[in-house]
Symmetry: C2
Subunit: 415 residues, 2 copies
């Protein structure tokens, strides 16, 4: 089965909010064997919503919408869906009880606008939004279905996992009497080779693989993710075989055989060794710390960090020698290695990583232009450091510094 997503909200089309929902939903749909055909973002506008619904139903069987379900005047999705499916709003006692329970400690919220949340389209199947006040609505149009969810990401995620995906799968079984063909995606990550050189290495492979197995290149910050995909046409065994061949061809550049984020890969390697890590960050300003602590279970290997944005902190907390700061500057091999060893000692960890660079837009010099970043990885045996040139834009520079540092750490942990 194929699905489309329609995200509804002016905020998406004036750039006030980044749509993170679609990517998350896309991943879950794929995992469940449902191909996502298209994503469309439209304004909170009746005509545009109706046009998008018509378009989507002309192409696919399952339409998922997010957004426009709040109690305020600018949110119109429920009303548009009512008209679209020729039905009207009726009070739903179950939703009412749920909303009253949800806000029982904050009675000021139970006003007449919130009360509109338990008015639901008579023709819709209503599912509980466990963590919010806007109920989930499922509509049928011949053999096709539409599911409407809130746009708030965590409400949408719980709705998808607990209600909408199980519903779709059950519905699909009833309609088609068989389960979806499996969609396979297998990804590996390589580093240290330009995309075009990699493509030349893989040219023969690409020509020989069956047409229904697709190979995609996803370069980012010096990492290239290579993804093999098949939409139900290949068997798992066939995919495994072609993935094995791919791995073999790129083995000199391989970082990981999965699509996991680098910090997760590094974390697993640290856990395997029973080792701990800390970070000392200047230009990355806490980005590495935030990555390492992002995932549940990270306290097993991550102890903490010193974000030494100012030189005083480098000197007084990380014990970077003042002479080195004066003589070589904060962005130097001497300082970044002292930062790594300093935080390793202070936080009593086995490993440590450090960054010091010029993220710009100001602060560059002819010797050390914007984008110059020194990184260091301290292991129990030795400190490794490297000077990198990471481009011109602040965000790009700090993102790439994190990526390069994590790759360096992973390589050392793998060796």
């Amino acid at each position: 089965m194929r699905a489309e997503i329609i995200t509804i909200g002016d905020e998406l089309l004036i750039g006030q909010v980044v749509d993170t929902n679609s990517a998350w939903m896309a991943e879950r749909l794929n995992e469940n064997g449902i191909e996502l055909y298209r994503v469309t973002s439209v304004h909170d506008d009746r005509e545009q919503i109706v046009a998008a619904l018509d378009n989507a139903f002309s192409r696919v069987d399952i339409v998922l919408t997010t957004g426009g379900l709040g109690p305020t005047k600018d949110d119109i999705t429920k009303h548009v869906l009512c008209d679209y499916f020729g039905t009207q709003l009726v009070e739903d006692a179950v939703v009412r009880a749920h909303v009253e329970e949800l806000y029982k400690d904050r009675p000021e919220i139970l006003n007449r606008l919130t009360a509109t949340q338990w008015m639901v389209p008579a023709a819709a199947e209503i599912k509980e939004n466990r963590v919010g006040s806007a109920p989930l609505m499922i509509f049928h149009k011949n053999d096709k279905i539409l599911a409407s969810m809130p746009g708030v990401p965590y409400e949408m995620k719980i709705a998808m996992d607990e209600q909408i995906l199980p519903y779709i799968q059950n519905y699909e079984l009833q309609i088609t009497n068989y389960e979806s063909g499996h969609i396979f995606h297998k990804t590996l990550q390589v580093n240290g080779i330009p995309e075009s050189s990699l493509a030349i290495i893989l040219e023969d492979y690409e020509n020989r693989k069956p047409a229904y197995i697709h190979l995609a290149y996803l370069p980012k910050d010096g990492i290239i993710r290579l993804r093999l995909s098949s939409y139900g046409e290949a068997s798992m065994t066939e995919m495994d075989e072609w993935f094995g061949r791919l791995k073999d061809l790129v083995k000199d550049y391989l970082i990981a055989e999965t699509d996991e984020p680098l910090e997760v890969i590094a974390g697993s390697l640290l856990k395997k060794r029973g080792a701990t890590i800390a970070t000392a960050e200047s230009c990355t300003g806490g980005k590495l710390a935030a990555l390492l602590s992002k995932h549940s279970g990270s306290s097993a290997f991550y102890k903490g960090s010193v974000i030494a944005y100012s030189n005083e902190v480098k000197e007084h907390v990380l014990r970077v020698p003042k002479e080195d700061l004066d003589r070589y500057g904060a962005v130097s091999e001497q300082v970044v290695t002292s930062m790594a060893s300093g935080v390793r000692e202070l936080l009593q960890t086995d490993y440590a990583i450090a960054t010091s660079g010029i993220a710009g837009p100001t602060g560059g010099t002819p010797d050390k232009p914007v984008g110059t970043v020194w990184v260091a990885v301290a292991t129990p045996q030795k400190i490794y450091s490297e000077c990198l040139h990471l481009g011109k834009l602040r965000e790009q520079i700090t993102d790439r510094a994190c990526t390069k540092t994590l790759v360096k750490l992973i390589r050392l942990l793998q060796s």
Copy 2:
């Protein structure tokens, strides 16, 4: 004039990549008086790209595409555009010279695949992609235009600002002989009132304002952004008047009269006082540090942080008394206030903020369930602390903890 964006790439539709480009482009288009009508994401698939182009041209005058311009086989946008506009690829000497210059230090990249980057559609106007190898292409279709850009965010951003937006504005002037009507968006941010209660306060205002001025509610993590919009129908003075009335109605809850991120607002207030700040983070793990250092110029007020993910770091680096850790636990008023005062003293700052909580999914107890977060703000005079309950999902809990802590800091800096 109105525009649509088509983002091209399988990675968007299997959830491997979040589309951050559209929001950024949307903001720039709006600032330049161009209304963004719709965003569509399609696969790297000829039929789908052509259908999306036809659809978009039937609705708007300007179509912007991103993605599918790499040198590898999976990227087909340039070939599809060639056929769509009935033209063919020819070598472009200027692009060739640029690409050769771009990779002059890395000759291994100048292989035959990279050479395909200087083959461009004969019918397209070619613009320089200063930071990448895929040239920008502009096509004309009657009085309508299509601009094709790379999907790599920083390449797209430079392309938009330096080439595509100036081109569109100049083109618009030629075609219509007048500049776009101004699109106004004015946003303020409030805190401490539920969305539905706010809407009741604003009901009369909403009924009285002209229909061409739109009011939108954007709630997130306890903050509600209220946005007034007008697409060329209202004068700046009229917008200012209605914005003034809005501000007056919500003055008890107002945090900011702009759409700036909270860390920027806090930073400006600190700079105005000539004050510095540090963070001591447990459950937020560096997120606050990364926010405070994210924006250029932050070194004027932000000195650094101690990310004390483990109790040893809280005790040995931040000098949190061991008795308090043992007696009250890490997630307690005693510990979070010691963390704030500890980091303020260690890093010698005027202000400090600290967080300690249970981000889950494990670690909750009946007394302190997942989502319990203690936050503290240390000022030169006093330490303020608060116990928060921030939901059930790890990411939501840490995001909200950052938001609530920054709001608390802003309120103190404003008082």
